[in-house]
Amino acid sequence: MKALTLPRVTGWRVIALILILAGAVSAFARFTQGLGATTHLTDDFPWGLWIGFDFLGIGLAASGFTLVAAVHLFHAKAYEPIVRPAILTAFIGYLLVVLVLIIDLGRPDHFWHPLVMWNPHSVMCEISWCLMLYTTVLSLEFAPIVLEKFHIHRPIKWIHNISLPFMIFGVLLSTLHQSSFGSLYLIVPNRLHALWYTPLLPVLFFISCIASGISMVILESLLLSRHGPALLPPRLRANLAKITAVVLAVYLVVRIQDLLTRGNLHEMTTLTYYSAAFHAEILIGFLIPFGLLLHERVRTSRTGLYTACLMVLGGFAANRMNTAVTGLEQWPTLTYFPSLMEILIMLGITALGFSAFLAIVNYLPIFTAEPARPGPHEDPIQADPAPALLARAGGHLGTP
């Protein structure tokens, strides 16, 4: 990465650029004309696609805290090479979610109010605080990567000295707000369909975010080592897949058992719009990938892992969208479908996220597993030929 060269024009880059521009134009329209003119949100359906997208983004960003916990708190050091990509995913995810929230807020100029005007009874207030604090923690976890690039070593040492409490704090914050996204809906027992409403919403949201976070990590390790040496040895990838299967199993047990004990089995067995959405979500996102990941053959095959992990993420998205949109459609018996601008803004921000990830992966030392930090565990062995991988990433990651 010495001289600045013009990026090569590839199909994906053109598509990303178009999406980002379309999103930017739509966002401009939203800020100049208001939400009414640009979205299909109404008094009866005040939250729509963007809230679902926030849930999704935060869920994928769960890869950050799960990996930090596994490697730095539980000392599963073998997974270290994938920590930085996971932190980067989380950091970008959170920044984008904050961006979407600001677009979604009616008064973006007041977005800082929750920080000074407290209401401890509000889940939304707790989420605002967690988002802000955790984004701060993530920036601290991310800062060494940037500082390393520019060879500024002293602050890295400082950050390292305080990193343990911050990492613990970050994991706790994630636990809180990942589950709080579920708690948002505890207050609408009469609106949210019984297939999704349960007092266990926060617990279910937390369990499922771990599954999606780990699946995201597996996918990343597959994608980022497509053209080079494996970022994670296949054995470790298979282990992650095994953990995902366990988490999916726990989720299924809690979810189904809760439906049974709350006497909502009939909602599941009678065929309606809602039960169809429910079964699609459970089958594609939880049951089938669970079944797949039980097999050693799937866990060790790239195609198998791709399939299973994409299904987990798809099911996760379906679950969040069902909670945020489908499940709320029973009252007042209207169907919400997002407007073109809502979709364009969402796609634009997604494209922005992917582009930012690939650009940063090319520019910053994301694949240097061990940060330059002093300590008793200095490990000179570095199986990962980072520079070579970086060079290759520059050539291939942007291409289909």
Partner: protein, 257 residues
């Protein structure tokens, strides 16, 4: 001591003249017109169900859901009863629209600096000891303003005196923990558009039962994670310094393909 105010809305007495709505719009400088559902320009509305007229307005709950969900405290409950709104605090998250069990708050969707609009129980009039504009305008006494305790007693008396005229229920006495709007009806409430599945538990308790656990998650979780770190860190250290044991395994076992 400030008494909690309320209104008794006796559906048997309402003739559908819409004087309440007219007075409300005048008091709040809203464009005139008879509206049948709550909108940005109707803080109260009157709808007809099989010849009966039902007033819609903010119920001013005793434990308001909107107040509990608002992240910035833009909505607040005053001891006298009104649930009021401060647009200078509002961030426009619309959680109140989502959460209100009576679907009351309305949002200025077409504005780039939107606010919430809803009935505020004539808070300014109450503060100087005056009744609400709508109750003052009601010619038949279908909307009666007063102390909540007194109005509840009065409602009980009316139902007891004419059990064939009323269903034995005061809607708002216990719904979601009690509201400031107390309704009497000649027919079962669900037949005239009321939500009768709301239950007696104040909605905010549903959230608080979880939210109150957050401090525990932080303390217990913090100790737990620190402990795990300590143990696993110690294990790594011991492994590294084991005099006769195996040397520490290299990090990546080199099975990169």
């Amino acid at each position: 001591m400030l008494e909690k105010k309320a209104m008794l809305l006796d559906i048997t007495l309402c003739v559908g003249c819409n004087a309440c709505q007219g007075a409300c719009k005048e008091a709040n400088q809203l464009p005139p017109g008879d509206e049948t559902r709550l909108t940005l320009t109707a803080f109260t509305a009157l709808s007809e169900h099989q010849g009966r007229f039902v007033r819609h307005l903010c119920q001013h709950c005793d434990v308001p859901t909107c107040v509990s969900v608002c992240p910035v405290g833009a909505l607040s409950k005053s001891p006298a009863g009104p649930v009021t709104y401060d647009g200078n605090k509002c961030i426009g998250c619309r959680y109140c629209l989502q959460a209100c069990p009576f679907h009351v708050p309305k949002y200025e969707w077409s504005s780039t600096r939107p606010s919430i609009r809803k009935c505020h129980f004539c808070a300014a009039r109450l503060a100087v000891g005056r009744p609400t504009a709508c109750s003052e305008a009601c010619p038949t006494g279908a909307t009666l303003f007063g102390d909540r305790a007194e109005l509840l007693a009065e409602a009980g008396r009316r139902v007891a005196a004419a059990p064939d005229k009323y269903v034995p229920r005061i809607y708002g006495q216990e719904e979601v923990g009690g509201t400031s709007m107390l309704y009497l009806s000649p027919v079962p409430f669900e037949q005239i558009g009321f939500d009768t599945r709301l239950g007696k538990t104040p909605m905010p308790l549903l959230t608080m039962s979880v939210l109150s656990k957050a401090p525990n998650v932080v303390t217990v979780g913090g100790v737990l994670l620190s402990g795990i770190w300590w143990i696993t860190n110690r294990r790594t250290e011991v492994q590294a310094n084991e005099p006769n044991g195996r040397p520490r395994r290299p990090r990546s076992q080199g099975d990169s393909k």
